[in-house]
Symmetry: none
Subunit: 304 residues, 2 copies
Amino acid sequence: MDISKITSKEQAVGFLNQFDNFLFDCDGVIWSGNTLLPKTIEILTYLKMELHKNLIFVSNNSTKSREEYLKKFRKLGINFINKNEIFNSSFASAIYIEKILNVNKETDKVFVIGMRGIEGELREAGIKYIGGEDIRLDDKFSVEESEYFQNLDPSVKVVLAGLDLNINYHRLAIGLQYLLRPEVFFVSTNIDSTFPNGKFKLPGAGTMIKALETCSNRKSISCGKPNLNMMKSIIKEHNIDISRSVMVGDRLNTDIKFGKLGGLSTLLVLSGICSEEDVFSKDNDVVPNYYINKLGDLYELIHE
Amino acid sequence: MDISKITSKEQAVGFLNQFDNFLFDCDGVIWSGNTLLPKTIEILTYLKMELHKNLIFVSNNSTKSREEYLKKFRKLGINFINKNEIFNSSFASAIYIEKILNVNKETDKVFVIGMRGIEGELREAGIKYIGGEDIRLDDKFSVEESEYFQNLDPSVKVVLAGLDLNINYHRLAIGLQYLLRPEVFFVSTNIDSTFPNGKFKLPGAGTMIKALETCSNRKSISCGKPNLNMMKSIIKEHNIDISRSVMVGDRLNTDIKFGKLGGLSTLLVLSGICSEEDVFSKDNDVVPNYYINKLGDLYELIHE
């Protein structure tokens, strides 16, 4: 097992010298909830401004569009990131629908189960959609009274599902009607089964998607980590050399798996979900190349 | 493959002579939605009144209690059925929680994701419950504002989930909090992924249950067909001889599987979910002993 913990200045410098492209997960790496992790601004500034590295922020959170993500970065004091450095699962899904599924922007529509982050990215890509946060879908479902049910739209070519705090029977029932058409594509933003909310776990995108997969007896194509569709989009969009790229994340089964599947090097930070015990557990088969207590340690080691 | 299609008077008479006990699924066999299937009253009257057969109606529909089922039978003109001839999954679940899980009726509670049929059967069994159709769970979920979230109840010992037309993020999030306690049992009424509504399919109980199973990373114990818990309860309650019993249903993977697992003979009717192609598909490994276009054909064949 070839794995090193970065604990000295020499190791930190050697690590940074190997890579031009740094892909970062956000929650558990850059921030935890709404709090920035220590020395994050310093290391990001150093990487971008002094070393001129290419930074890409890769998140499975689809509830925000890249615009909204940018606002979060700015609110936390990170002002030197721009929109094209952010790659979240709603954006990845919009790209996938646009570039891979090649929907006709004049005539085709997407039925969305998800929130405004998804709607924002579809709008920006010029893709027509229905559903999403439409309040008519908040009404209790009845076959007779649902406008959506009574007017199923033949131009829907894709169902796109992600985390939806407005999920209800109405949305599931309409989603199912479209998924029963074999020609309709089924795309999901990501399949995380839960997400952390302070000390609680709440149902994640995977919960809604599994519900839809169960009633439709279909499998969705996931655009989030660790699915390689997302990696392919990033590589294409940023034209990066994977041999000079590293994926930094706090989850073995999404971030590190994603990096490894994509052929990148990987750095696990212990400031989020996974611990050192998880790495060396006999049940773990996803071993990062490097690990470190937190991202900011790279800055501290180099400047000590 | 030993399978016969019943198409002649001789076959129909031979079929009926073999059995004393007829277990019927309801939807797709007796009725479709709110419409009785042709010649159903005639065949049921003939079986019960003239041939003195034992009829048992076995349904995975948990949205109605047995009382409400009886009303539906009467509304459709079937007046000769009584409550103890009805065995649905909400009743089976209440029995399971009462007799197998042995909940303490004074101190324990069930958190219900499901409708008033479940609530009715739990009430009749004297089991305390929360959740279900409680309108506070219809509110949009927020950690801070949810009374259910802010007052998680330590006396909840079981989560019981079934088809819930009121399913929403709020109910999923509260269900998850209870399921994250390893000592809480996870029971489901049935796992049908869809149910027919006229010419449409709508998401079934299995949709909600898979959602809960996904976020909690747990498996539920199902009390509906094809689970043998239900068959054991029926055999015990009605003291039937399985060698003289036949299960009649419209679904291979629930009704027919249920009959076969229980050691009964099986009759598939093609008036519901499954078609002749499904029976002979190479993916199908659940082959009924008999099949017929619809239940009423037995009457027509015998009286032609």
